[in-house]
Symmetry: C2
Subunit: 174 residues, 2 copies
């Protein structure tokens, strides 16, 4: 995985706005960024798809919404010891186009994408893996109970007002 | 191309908001939509990438910006008579992940994506084609002079105030 992954990734703080994160994406032609908390811990991943799914439906200005409410979390990741097929399976099963690669201590050391992996897969696998990205959705696990998934709650206009935990025993919202 | 393309595409009116277009995308898991004007003419294509590139940097609410200012235009398209390799070359040269397929009268009959095409390409071509999407940018030709391309003009905060034609002899802005 070390040879394939992109080690030239960029990070943003989870309190940065969508506006600032997209500026970094556009200026560097990087369409996925690692998100860190104030202690420098890797806490999530922001991508084009997460902005389309979790930011636009809130109907707010990009500088009004912090990345922590939009990012994929917990951070989708594979160990650097995974082989190409394991990593492709992980992305495919989770409906992801990219994820972090972590070393044995859990530290992010790179980002891997379907495009990177497609160099090393058979033709049949490439197609399976690429198509999975269209049909599956990444599930946001509740950071409080760890059991439910975060589901959007809409108002009459169709705007997302809040994401709520699907576990009836949990009251988490964001 | 008829066999490969997705004929189950959706359209939006160019005066629809980004908010409404993304609602259609998310509900249908379609990440590209054909854009029509009030006469029903196909005038553009909206995608995740165009929203990241041309909407977020304006720093407005999604229901405040019309799709016509964000979409790729003129509509990127290939004739249905193209073979797979020609279509892949067109997408690759223009930094596109998808484009419209038009019949001999110019009418849109489907949408084709890199993923669709990858089923039919050699492994080497797949990688070339997929990687092109990361490194190239789609150029928005000026709809007034047809010579310049639309380039963003930023204010001090880094927000896009307007897109202006690069041709010094043309005064088009949007």
């Amino acid at each position: 995985m070390e040879k394939i992954m992109n080690t030239n990734y960029r990070s943003v703080n989870e309190n940065s706005s969508v506006f600032d994160a997209v500026k970094i994406m556009n200026e560097n032609r990087l369409y996925g960024l690692i998100v860190k908390d104030n202690e420098g811990k890797d806490v999530g991943l922001i991508s084009e798809r997460s902005i389309i799914k979790r930011f636009i439906p809130r109907n707010k200005k990009p500088d009004e919404v912090q990345i922590k409410y939009v990012m994929r979390k917990p951070i989708p990741k594979v160990p650097s010891s995974y082989d190409v097929r394991d990593a492709a399976a992980y992305l495919s099963e989770n409906g992801l186009e990219r994820c972090a690669v972590v070393d044995s201590t859990g530290k992010v050391v790179g980002i891997i994408t379907l495009t990177d992996l497609s160099r090393y897969l058979s033709r049949a696998s490439i197609v399976d893996v690429l198509l999975s990205h269209r049909t599956k959705d990444y599930k946001h696990l509740c950071p409080k109970c760890g059991v439910g998934v975060l589901v959007p709650v809409y108002d009459q206009k169709g705007e997302i007002k809040v994401f709520r935990c699907s576990n009836p025993a949990c009251d988490y919202e964001e």
